[in-house]
């Protein structure tokens, strides 16, 4: 085999190695992206229905306060009766809030009937599992990048790479 064909073979091998590193990193990154999306979805998942219903009830109670907290005894005054001084728009809003409570509660119930909601404990558990898998992937990616660097290849790390993986000691990498 001539020196030229040997060199050509070496070059082809190096190119193949570069491609393999690149492909492996891309596969890992694709999986990382999927898990990050899943984590985002879990993080932003609707709160349990009871929490939402409680929030709605508290908000409606606050809105209705000008009526529920209204002191009606002034109407019973014998001599000093004066028409109460109320903030008109707030009083009207309070009346609407009281009237709308069943309809709004029903709508919130209907919204939850279409949602996939898990309990907080299940959500935390799922997130912890995702985080563990994400960290394993990040460590594997970092390991590959360092292997590539050792072979003289440059693969840029992701800007959102996990610092725990990027700064991990060699002994902590797979």
């Amino acid at each position: 085999m001539s020196a030229v064909s040997k060199l050509a073979g070496m070059l082809a091998g190096a190119r193949e190695a570069t491609n393999q590193f690149g492909e492996s990193v891309e596969q890992l990154r694709a999986r990382v992206a999927i898990l990050q999306d899943e984590r985002y979805r879990l993080t932003n998942m609707a709160v349990p229905k009871q929490v939402a219903l409680q929030r709605l009830a508290i908000w409606l109670d606050q809105m209705a306060q000008p009526i529920t907290g209204f002191n009606v005894s002034s109407f019973a005054e014998r001599d000093d009766f004066r028409a109460p001084d109320v903030h008109g728009p707030r009083f009207i809003a309070a009346a609407i809030a009281l009237a709308a409570k069943p309809a709004l509660t029903e709508r919130l119930e209907a919204y939850y009937s279409k949602q996939t909601v898990v309990s907080e404990a299940e959500r935390d558990q799922a997130r912890a599992k995702l985080d563990a898998e994400l960290l394993d992937l990040e460590l594997a990616e970092e390991s590959l990048i360092r292997e590539a660097e050792a072979a003289g290849l440059t693969i840029l790390r992701r800007a959102d790479a996990d610092p725990r993986a990027v700064l991990a000691a060699q002994s902590s990498l797979p």
Binding site: L156, R157, R158, A159, R164, V166, L167, A168, A169, Q170
Partner: protein
């Protein structure tokens, strides 16, 4: 949380953190910043050459308009237009390279900042 803070290696959960790795990330960020600067210079160089050529071309067009048909000027204008097309292509390529280099530099800089913050925060995990 990081244990044994101040030492070169610390533990975060079950991962051993090697603080010296930060220097590698700093070096990469510096390299990418340098590459972005070089790409920026190269793009600007082509942009200046293109602008100067356009001005020259305009001057020659004015001369041609004043002096009527002038073979020498016409020849120069044709040559300039060809060069301008080349420069336009060079500029597009340089601009693309600059964009890529800037993105790489931003990514490397962002990662460096995240790593520095991670160590400053005592190894607190990201939310």
């Amino acid at each position: 949380m990081i244990e044994n803070d101040g030492a070169e290696t610390t533990m975060v959960a079950s991962i051993k953190i090697d603080k010296a790795r930060l220097r590698v990330i700093e070096r990469i960020a510096r390299r990418e910043r340098g590459a972005a600067g070089t790409a920026n210079d190269a793009r600007n160089h082509v942009a200046v050459a293109r602008s100067e050529l356009r001005l020259d071309l305009q001057k020659h067009e004015v001369i041609r308009a004043r002096t009527g048909v002038d073979d020498q000027t016409l020849g120069q204008i044709a040559g300039m237009k060809e060069r301008l097309v080349e420069l336009d292509e060079e500029f597009a390529a340089a601009e693309h390279e600059q964009t890529v280099a800037n993105e790489r530099s931003t990514a490397a800089g962002g990662l460096l900042m995240a790593c520095e913050r991670f160590l400053e925060d005592g190894g607190r995990q990201r939310p």
